[in-house]
Symmetry: C2
């Protein structure tokens, strides 16, 4: 018979081991996309394959099963932190254990294959070549959901993987509100004169852009002794622990603000990880709790702060200094309008703040149908085109700029997309609450984001994964999630921008 | 009872696991010194501590013991490659096993501490503060040698750790020859007019230096799709497998050739790793066999090729292109003389080709005495000063530029230094053999190093660790190691340079 003290010691050891493997594999991945010479995938694959197997066996084994079962049965003897550790680990353990090992391995092999098949299909605009892979991935996701929880709707099970506690009920209500308010607003905007943003395009020296990144990170109060910046095709943030966070960006010589908003966005992710409480380190509770909350932080900084009038005004002198030629005659208001220009397009990652969520809505509705089986993979391209026309008013000329554009489905992520849009909506609700405590835009105007960083640390970041995303948001804003704040925020901002009553 | 087939399969698995851990930990280290934000050591230490422990237990356990014992007893049933795998693994296993785990852990902790104590002592020029650490490290090295092989002289045991098969007998004869020929030659050179190398100092744009590195690596036939370059305080080379090799350099804004020769030196190490046979991958036989052979390759490229007249002549136009201001009036002969200027100094890593081995000789003689017990740690600074005066004719003003300058002893490496000098000597003997097959300097003159790369691949690189260093050299040059070639090479080169008959 185990005693609590021994069990807790074993729990610590287990979590430290998981941390160690994640740390090493995380760095191997980061190196791969930022630094490694290009033809090095083979040997890396061999190493990562072995280490993932080791990590899997360190977790899924009878001893850990016994440990987690024992601790789950003795929760009353644990403090809140331990309780949450056990809860998260047990959930992960139970899920992972439920998939037969051979099916798991088969699926990993399928995903490996799908990645290159998808890349090629996108390049060659050839959906048919990717279709069989995608069919298998959809089928596996359905099966996986049934393994995890046969009682629950499959898509709800998948949503919960990325945003603990999220259901279609919540997501449907959210997207309904978006559709009702944003689609008509967009139609109104399209009737207005287009904003001139031509000065954002030209030639912008990469080294100067690198300096601009450092400037932005400093402005965001990011502690550079614990946060690096690399360069990758697709910007992202990763953390190995709360004191070792890395963001990446992608510099485009012909565009100055693309990387700027990547840095501010990823900087938001980084701040969240850097702000996680020390007490969570090397446990399952460390770091950001969910995709949705993470996006709420990154999009808060990118859009609510970064695309605000006072922020844009404050960075303009630096832009003029680094790129004098291009920005000499540009006013703060011109820059503000340019970086907020609404332009319905085909590509999600190029979308403006207003239309971004509509791109997500297209994906949400389609993947929901795919998982439910009410849409077949072969009909996806047409369904995609129809939704894009309906919500964004654009015609999809080909699949590479249509349903082949994102990597998510090829990498098996169904239920992931909604969290992007939810994050934006959380952010607007958080802003409202923050404004009760202090004048947020006054702080931005004063060129001092530290009160914002302090507030978010206190109300969100410090908690790590202690609370499920919904509970964390409620704890922070004092009310359940309400998408009203977000659509109000968007309406106010864009009606003002386009002089619509 | 095990059968050979099962045993060989287990052997493969063991080696792949070792590969996977080394790969991951290697990348974590590489990231740490090239990319990681500065205050990230803590979390990395936790991860690496756990993973080293995991890797240790994957190796030192009864099952592996049984496996290696079984295979060692059935060598006749194994092919040569398997035999060598077993031989190397068994040697490593037996050694590692012999150190009681608590002493091993204690020593690792001592080394951890010693590293920071040494750094501080060097910075503050305070040998006394480092003395107790060094005493313990020396004592442990003696004890470790006794664990490994109580019958053998302790320093011979240590030499064998870094250069399999090397003994003091060989090293003594080598250094004796060096002393007899090089010390008097240096005295003669010092009476001659000094070479003017002032144009090597000035301002050299770092980005242009980076371009120069790429140019040099291309010239050396280094496949960049498998070899990256990073920037670190001390240049080094590391490999994760034969298709993923990284070199580093350190750019000095005030000096153009410092990084040039680092790149050519590390490029030599990289070529050796890149040229290891495919059949060794993921086994104990993969990669360069020893420090000495490795240095023979790096110093071959750095000095024998890189500091030769034709090489210098060929890179000069590129230098003129990248740094027109500084090199406009410089001739090939001036550059050749400047990069070969002999200047006895205090610092090993800044030493020229001729005096470098004398720096090593100082360390060799002193560490030999420390391990034998004929020199006490407390007397090291004085002994150091005396040797430096005797061999290089320089006065040592303080310990930070004396016995505190290198990190080797603080990191527990006794027996490592000689391989630097041996490598240079191997290189000269290899050159002689290569010249029997084709006109080496004609190839350099023709600006085509590929015949050199092909020859070294065929005679050295492809073998990985299949042969012990001495045997490999003998296989390559058809005779045992003979330091005569090296001293002849140095005499010829430097007598010519300084017009000494």
């Amino acid at each position: 018979m185990m005693d609590i003290k021994t069990a807790v010691a074993k729990l610590d050891e287990l979590q430290k081991i998981q941390y160690a493997y994640s740390h090493a594999m995380g760095i191997v991945f980061y190196d791969a996309v930022t630094t490694a010479p290009k033809d090095t995938a083979e040997g890396r694959g061999v190493a990562l394959g072995i280490l993932s197997g080791e990590m899997y066996r360190k977790f899924i084994n009878p001893e850990v099963d016994e440990l987690l079962t024992f601790l789950s049965g003795n929760m009353s003897e644990l403090d809140d932190h331990r309780k949450r550790e056990v809860e998260l680990l047990k959930k992960d353990f139970d899920r992972t254990k439920k998939i037969p090992e051979n099916e798991y391995v088969e699926y990993q092999m399928l995903l490996n294959e799908a990645d290159s098949v998808w890349h090629k299909a996108k390049e060659e605009n050839d959906f048919e070549s990717f279709r069989p892979c995608l069919e298998k991935i959809v089928a596996f996701n359905r099966k996986m959901a049934a393994y995890y929880d046969p009682e629950k709707d499959a898509y709800d099970v998948l949503l919960d993987l990325y945003e603990e506690g999220l259901t279609q009920e919540t997501a449907d209500a959210f997207f309904l509100k978006l559709r009702e308010r944003i689609v008509p607003l967009l139609e109104e905007i399209m009737k207005k004169d287009q904003i001139d943003d031509s000065f954002l395009y030209g030639h912008f020296d990469i080294n100067a852009q690198r300096q601009f990144s450092d400037y932005l990170m400093e402005k965001m109060c990011i502690d550079r002794s614990h946060c690096g910046i690399g360069e990758t095709e697709h910007p992202f943030t990763t953390n190995f622990n709360k004191k070792d966070v890395r963001i990446t960006t992608n510099y485009h010589e012909d565009n100055a603000v693309n990387s700027m908003f990547s840095v501010v966005h990823e900087g938001g992710h980084a701040l969240y990880e850097l702000g996680s409480g020390d007490e969570h380190e090397y446990t399952a509770v460390a770091g950001g709790v969910s995709m949705g909350i993470h996006e709420s932080q990154s999009r808060f900084f990118e859009n609510i702060i970064g695309r605000s009038r006072p922020f844009v005004k404050n960075v303009l002198p630096k832009l003029k200094e680094l790129f004098p030629e291009q920005f000499r005659t540009v006013t703060a208001e011109q820059l503000y309008r340019a970086v907020n220009k609404v332009e319905p397009g085909l590509i999600r990652i190029d979308a403006d703040e207003l239309t971004y969520s509509l791109h997500i809505m297209v994906r949400y509705e389609l993947e929901k149908q795919l998982i439910k089986g009410t849409l077949e993979v072969k009909d996806l391209p047409d369904a995609w085109a129809a939704k894009m026309k309906e919500y964004l008013g654009v015609d999809v000329p080909d699949d590479k700029r249509g349903c082949l554009q994102d990597s998510h489905w090829s990498s098996g992520s169904f239920g992931y997309f909604p969290s992007y849009a939810l994050g934006s909506a959380y952010g607007a609700q958080i802003l409202k609450k923050m404004e009760e405590d202090f004048d947020v835009y006054k702080a931005v105007e004063d060129d001092d984001l530290s009160p914002i960083v302090a507030w978010l640390t206190e109300h969100i970041w410090q908690y790590g994964k202690m609370y499920a995303p919904g509970a964390l948001l409620e704890k922070c804003v004092g009310a359940p999630f309400d998408p009203q704040y977000y659509v109000d925020y968007l309406e106010t901002k864009f009606r003002d921008l386009y002089s619509i009553d």
